[in-house]
């Protein structure tokens, strides 16, 4: 694994922030004297993704990982920070055609296979939509060929194009979703918990398909998940998010075998392991604080067994360590040693 900074960066996210205004309506606020309320969903994140790798974001619900996915594909404009895709700043002003050329190269796979396909459209039209939108087909026959090819790629048949989404199972629908995402020949796929709504057996099927497609089509993935077993199975590198910030980034193996940040350790402790090592586990204490009023300093300090006075006031910086980065005062000061873990590779 080469060092993070020296890799050829395909997607580069810098200082990305996204705040949501969840205040009561202006009139109510004025009459009742309530303050504005801002959710800091994503609060300053730096990620670099190399071409061909799978970068996973993990974290508990509400930590902002889905928001990052939506920011990257442009569903939300960022409050601050920049997203660079293959050297192009996504926020830069450019013509419609140039924007479309960039959009064609990145697609998204969604979490809920029941909501991500328009129930009134035939599968053919769903998969054909990006091809039509970007004008990638010469004529009708070419369009039918391309759609048929995409459906075969996800192990469906071109004849399935005549059916409606409700005629398929969850796993099949997710494969249709993947076929649509592949239709415009993208290089970068943002996958927002693509397997979390599926049965375990189907999850493995979809993950294997995604790994296979990645190898054949040289795809780059940004993979969002809260399932560590899935992440272990698919990722090259993993970023751990807590309350809108990245607390640790490391190559997958390093993260699972030598976790550094106390939050990462806590998450790993929640995975049941088949070896029954009998090791004492720290239960995950407390719950994620509200992102409306996040704790000062290191946002993890109220739940952290190693927190001291410095953690309560000073926000830790991301420091490079063992091919990754970690944002923790205890690690930086050497108060917390690295501990070896044996992660059962068979868990996925």
């Amino acid at each position: 694994m080469p060092d993070g900074a020296s890799m050829n960066q395909f997607v580069k996210i810098e200082g990305l922030k996204r705040y949501f205004d969840v205040s009561a309506p202006w009139l109510v606020r004025t009459l009742e004297g309530r303050p504005r309320q801002i959710v800091q969903a994503v609060d300053g994140i730096d990620i670099e993704i190399a071409k061909g790798e799978t970068f996973s974001l993990v974290g508990e619900s509400g930590c902002g990982k889905s928001t990052v996915a939506r920011l990257v594909v442009g569903l939300y404009p960022p409050t601050a920070g920049s997203i660079e895709f293959d050297g192009n700043d996504m926020a830069g002003s450019r013509s419609r055609a140039d924007m479309a050329a960039l959009r064609r190269r990145m697609q998204m796979i969604f979490q809920d296979p029941y909501a991500s396909l328009n129930p009134r459209w035939r599968v053919f039209d769903i998969v054909a939509e990006p091809i039509r939108a970007f004008g990638l087909a010469k004529d009708k026959a070419d369009l039918e060929n391309q759609v048929g090819e995409r459906l075969r790629q996800v192990r469906l048949t071109p004849a399935d194009g005549r059916k409606y989404p409700h005629e398929f199972s969850g796993g099949q629908r997710q494969r249709i979703s993947i076929a649509r995402a592949l239709a415009s020949h993208p290089e970068f796929l943002v996958c927002d918990e693509p397997t979390s709504a599926l049965d375990v057996s189907v999850q493995a099927q979809i993950l294997n398909l995604m790994v296979d497609l990645q190898r054949r089509l040289q795809l780059t993935y940004l993979f969002i998940s809260h399932n560590l077993a899935v992440v272990y199975h698919i990722s090259t590198r993993v970023g751990v998010m807590y309350l809108g910030r990245l607390v640790e980034v490391a190559p997958t193996d390093t993260l699972f075998r030598r976790p550094k940040h106390p939050y990462t350790r806590m998450l790993l402790d929640t995975i049941p392991d088949l070896d029954m090592t009998g090791r004492q586990r720290a239960p995950v204490a407390g719950e994620v604080p509200s992102p409306i009023n996040p704790p000062s300093g290191c946002t993890f300090h109220p739940r952290c067994p190693f927190a001291n006075e410095r953690c309560k006031v000073e926000r830790p910086k991301a420091l490079p360590i063992e091919g990754g980065t970690v944002a923790c005062h205890a690690i930086e000061e050497g108060r917390l040693g690295v501990e070896e873990r044996s992660y059962a590779a068979s868990a996925a």
């Binding site: 959009r103 039209d125 990006p130």
Partner: protein
């Protein structure tokens, strides 16, 4: 857009195979309502071919035929005027056929006007949100506090103030269509807005946004097809309501003029001679109006239940 179906399943076959058709067949009330509606539509739209007289051509009228009773209840009746005549000697049956035609035209046209305005404003309101949404929905709220008939009266009154009486008779039908259309759009706008709020956060809309489709295309191609069900139901029920509103306005004398009488105008004319005992001039148009509105409303009720998956 859609792919070709295999030739083995024809359009007709698919229709008779569907859930909707089954629910239609298994409800005798609905079948009867549909038959009545169809019958009324046919006699109304083919009135110029089917009607025995052309009741509003003064050249064919003779005052000596005035106020003849219906043929089945009185020996004074004549078979040329099966449902009797009014004080001008017009054949009531022919007048009803032509009147129903006008009532239906006004009904359909005003439902379409209301639908177009309502769907457009509802889509914009729901999809854009924010201040635009607030403004449109507050206007809708204000309009809801006035009865539809009052709004229609107001619009009609304003138009009458602006243009001369003769001109008004010529454009009366457009005025009334506009007035009824403008007073019924709120229901569509609210329904569509509600559906849009649900649909726009679904992932298939986000997938279309990732592709970079423009908001207008997303609304028309993705959101609109998913809100047609409730809109269709409102439209059917509103058709009855629009016909009634038009009849009310015409009865009050602010709707269609007596040179172009709708069912409501006929009822008003009949009301004038009711006191002297000529009941048939008002009863037959009234019965027609009641039958039409009842049949259309029964169809609307059935459609609402048939399209609601929770009631299946």
């Amino acid at each position: 857009m859609a792919m070709q179906q295999p030739a083995t399943t024809s359009w007709l076959h698919r229709m008779t195979d569907s859930d909707i058709w089954w629910s239609f067949k298994s409800s005798p009330t609905t079948v009867a309502a549909a038959a009545v509606t169809l019958f009324i539509f046919v006699i109304a739209f083919f009135a110029p071919l089917l009607a025995p007289h052309t009741p509003f051509d003064p050249a064919t009228l003779s005052l000596s035929d005035g106020l003849k009773p219906p043929v089945l209840v009185s020996p004074d009746g004549e078979w040329t005027f099966p449902l009797g005549t009014d004080d001008q000697g017009r054949d009531v049956l022919s007048a009803i056929m032509y009147g129903t035609r006008l009532s239906l035209i006004v009904g359909f046209a005003s439902v379409i006007v209301a639908m177009v305005i309502g769907i457009a404003l509802g889509l914009v309101s729901g999809y854009v949100g924010g201040a635009v949404d607030t403004v449109i929905m507050r206007i809708a709220d204000v309009q809801l506090t006035f009865p539809a008939i009052l709004v229609a009266l107001l619009i009609d009154g304003v138009v009458r103030g602006i243009i001369s009486v003769q001109r008004h008779d010529e454009i009366a039908i457009f005025v009334i269509v506009g007035a009824i259309g403008l007073s019924f759009w709120v229901q569509y706008a609210r329904t569509v807005r509600g559906s849009v709020l649900v649909e726009k956060n679904k992932e298939y809309v986000q997938a279309a946004r990732v592709i970079g489709l423009s908001p207008v295309l997303i609304m028309v191609r993705h959101v609109l097809p998913n809100v047609t069900g409730p809109v269709l139901v409102i439209a059917t029920i509103n058709l009855g309501l629009a016909i009634i509103t038009e009849a009310t306005l015409s009865f009050l004398g602010v709707g269609l003029p007596s040179t172009q009488p709708s069912l409501g105008t006929l009822i008003r004319l009949g009301n004038e001679v009711l006191q002297s005992g000529e009941w048939w001039v008002i009863v037959f148009p009234g019965a027609m109006l009641a039958a039409l509105v009842l049949a259309v409303n029964l169809l609307g009720d059935w459609l609402r239940d048939a399209l609601n998956p929770k009631l299946r």
